[in-house]
Amino acid sequence: MSDSPPVLDITSLTVAYENEDVWQTAVRDLDLRIEAGQTYGLVGESGSGKTTVALAVMRYLGSSGRIVSGSILFNGLDMVALKEEELRGVWGKEIALVPQNPQSALNPSMRVGEQIAEILRRHAGLDRREAMARAEELLCMVRVPDPQRVLHSYTHQISGGMQQRVLIAMALSTEPALLILDEPTTGLDVTTQAAILDLFREITAERQTAVLYVTHNLGVVSALCDRVAVLYAGELVEDARVGELFHFPYHPYTEGLLDSIPQIGQKKTEAILHAIPGQIPPLGERLEVCVFAPRCALAIEECSTQRPDLETAASDHQVRCYRWREISRGEITTHQSAPDLIPVQSPGDGETVLLTEDLKVYYGLRRSLTEMLRRQPGRVVKAVDGVDLTLGKARTLGIVGESGSGKTTLARAVVGLAEKTDGEIQLLDMQLPAGLSSRTLDTLRHVQYVFQNPDDALNPHMTIGQTLQRPFISLLGMSSKEAAGQVSEMLRIVRLPKSYADRYPNQLSGGEKQRVAIARAFATSPDLLIADEPVSALDVSVQASILNLLNDLQNETRNSLILISHDLAVVGYLADQVAVMYLGQIMEISDAARIFEAPMHPYTEALLAAIPTIDPDSAVSHQEPLQGDVPSQIDPPSGCPFHPRCPRDLGDICRTEEPVWQENEFGDRIYCHIPLGELQSVQQMLKEA
């Protein structure tokens, strides 16, 4: 530890929000110190109070939030005592924030350049011309390829990755001493995320900026941070250097969090995921007990009668748990002693459940007036452009790809929510027509869908019981009395208590709602279940239980599963086979174990390299992150659609000719011009190196 005073020094900070005249504690007794040049991760699930801490540091808590006690010293300045006018001199100049969701964090009706320039005019005393010139330099610094164009653009005209770069340029413009990053890469593609993380690493090291990095993503923390503090229900439960925390977690919650994330290459055949039961408590009065005790497998009597102090376990490692000594000595652990493995069915007898041939989904854009007058055909968006898939019984196919790759459209076309333009969809022995309305009830029964956000998928005015009766009545033709009899069975298979039948969706947690959505999908015993980002709206500790459930149910009912996710580790864990999509086409379709071991297609390779892993010792990938954005689907590149971004571009042939499918001895197939043998030997060399 250096002796220089910390840039940020928070001592026993307590923050509360007023809700209907009651003050609810959001953060309690928090201590945190960040030194110059240090990147400090603040990790927690939703409701942990991590964003509250970030905003409290800037004293921007809105009219309902209040710092109840504690002190925040920023470079010796007492932030708690500052008046609003004084705060405005600190904001943006000394402390800058990079928010999440860049699209909404930028003003939609003001040009990007102006939004960067105004902060320079305010704090650096530049005039309009100087500020614009400086803004252009800043955009160059954050590696915006076309700064002049971006300066004159509005937010909606640039991609999400560019928007986030603009916000970063803005935050760095005044060279602040403290940078607060609030989930800056959430919602961005892994490839974009990798590029942005690279940028942070480089810039903060160069300038010795102190960084508070707020996130729920442990992978990002391990890739970027020096230290990490774990927050649970507003309390700091563990605080250590990154390597130490990831290797020797002393708090049961930290241990649980680390275990609940599937790691790249981890398979369902090897271990079930460790889920933390229960959920984070809502805001409210906090008793003098351990806040995590109700969900803790190791809780003892003491935990629910007194509140543990934050103890120093090792130099630089603090933990708030009565049993950390036993945990550190390896005497107790939250790992299940003998993980009860779910027997995974053999691939089956090869019976094909789903077959698509040259499946295409095109959307026509409205023709412009001149196009109409010149009788030109309207332009089309090729969302899915010729996809061949085969999925066997009880098998799981994972589909991955950046946003705009067409993975969701493909799934929607199979289920009938999007109408195919051309090609065949065969389910069991039935040829499926394009739209939902032209399909028979019987075919609907065989394919079911679980959506990303359970809040939107359940009708808020229906009880869970009513929701679960619907498929029995409408698809299986039961009377409502018969259907009502099925509800408790459906709740049982998704491990929810019977009493939930009378509840409304708003009385359930996110994970419970997703269980209901899964129960609804399984009501008709579908042969094919499509799960579109089924866990991405859920907290990390809950995700594992949903993935385990999908796996369990597949073993019981032997349904086939299509799993769509941007999270390659999730896909890798559950899938038998993985299809990698890019611009509406499949680039590679391979066995899940092999694709993570040795990706063949250059695009798969780049995607995998972009994922930050939670192992801080793993060699940081030396591959340059993919540059640029996914091109437009209206005018996709000629030849191989990936060639403009491909690090292994061969030249003319990739630009002019469409690749042919190549297959290896295991049946893994890739869509690439580079000979298979060459790609395989590259992987071999990398592995040996």
Partner: protein, 314 residues
């Protein structure tokens, strides 16, 4: 943008054409023989026939429609049944009066209402907000003839600041008419007040919760920069379009206000035409009303597109 405007203008022309067709058709099926109405009860069959021949009433309907439309476009709007004078100058004079009243309401009354809405929104749930919201809401419940009479009582009878009777001379200029315009404009503003205040307030409150406002605040900009450069431009978009649309209403919809103040606008002429079953006049006034609304809508669309780059540039 140019493409967007062209598209809108084409839509406008199409709307007008369709309306003219509807108006023409409806008047065809109204009971009553035009020649009889014009020439009176004493006219003989021969006279009637001659009249019909002269004015093309025996032609097939499509021909009659085309004739009517061509004349209308050329400013030949026919002769009023009741005043026996040319309709075009009659309507134009009233339109001039209505536009003067609308202009005053638009450029003084409406901005005041918007200002109140902005204050209420910026100070959400404060005393100012409550005062503005409650008082504007309590006025909206009152019909125009009540607010009109109250205004006359206070500002004309008690204080004597403005005349109670606003029957301006034909051909008055704006400045000459101004004293008589004030009270009707106030009455018209009061009708719109609650609506505009609520819409503006909601727009500001909603916009203040947008994440980009937080970004702007945390740049350390002054409060006034945040409000004027960031919040208002986005918050006022719905208000501006609604105000533009209500311009159409101000031209022909102020029937009660015009009556209370005895103001010679389009609204009162409309009532007159209905009273006398003056079909050609009614036809002309309806076309003018529709044109007014259509132009106001066009204005609203263009303004919206101009203010919102997401529309302008896509």
């Amino acid at each position: 943008m140019a493409r967007y405007v062209t598209r809108r203008v084409l839509f406008l022309l199409l709307t007008l054409l369709l309306t003219s067709l509807i108006i023409f058709t409806v008047t065809q099926y109204l009971p009553g023989d035009v020649a009889r109405i014009v020439l009176g009860r004493e006219a003989g069959e021969e006279q009637l026939q001659a009249y019909r021949e002269e004015f093309g009433l025996n032609d097939p309907l499509p021909v009659q429609y085309l004739n009517w439309l061509t004349n209308f476009v050329n400013g030949d709007w026919g002769i009023s049944y009741s005043t026996r004078t040319e309709i075009f100058p009659l309507v134009m004079e009233r339109l001039h009066n209505s536009l003067m009243l609308a202009a005053l309401t638009m450029f003084i009354g409406v901005p005041l209402a918007v200002l109140l809405g902005v204050i209420a929104g910026l100070k959400e749930d404060s005393r100012w907000d409550n005062l503005i919201s409650i008082s504007s809401l309590s006025v909206v419940g009152l019909p125009e003839f009540v607010t009109g009479i109250i205004l006359i009582e206070i500002f004309a009878r008690k204080l004597g600041w403005f005349p109670a009777n606003s029957s301006i001379e034909p051909g008055s200029t704006f400045m000459e008419a101004l004293p008589m315009l004030v009270l009707p404009a106030m009455a018209a503003t009061l009708v719109l007040l609650a609506y505009i205040v609520r819409l503006t307030r909601a727009g500001v409150v909603e916009e203040l919760r947008e994440p980009y406002v937080r970004t702007a605040e945390l740049k350390g900009l002054s409060k006034s920069s945040v409000v004027f450069k960031h919040v208002l431009r986005n918050a006022l978009m719905p208000t501006i379009t609604i105000v533009a649309i209500s311009f159409g209403w101000m031209i022909s919809g102020l029937i009660v206000v015009e009556n209370v103040f005895n103001y010679p606008g389009v609204g009162r002429l409309m009532v007159f035409a209905i009273d006398r079953r003056d079909l050609p006049l009614l036809q002309a006034l309806t076309m003018v009303t529709v044109l007014g609304f259509a132009l106001a809508n066009l204005l609203a669309d263009i303004l919206y597109a101009y203010l919102d780059p997401r529309i302008r540039l896509s």
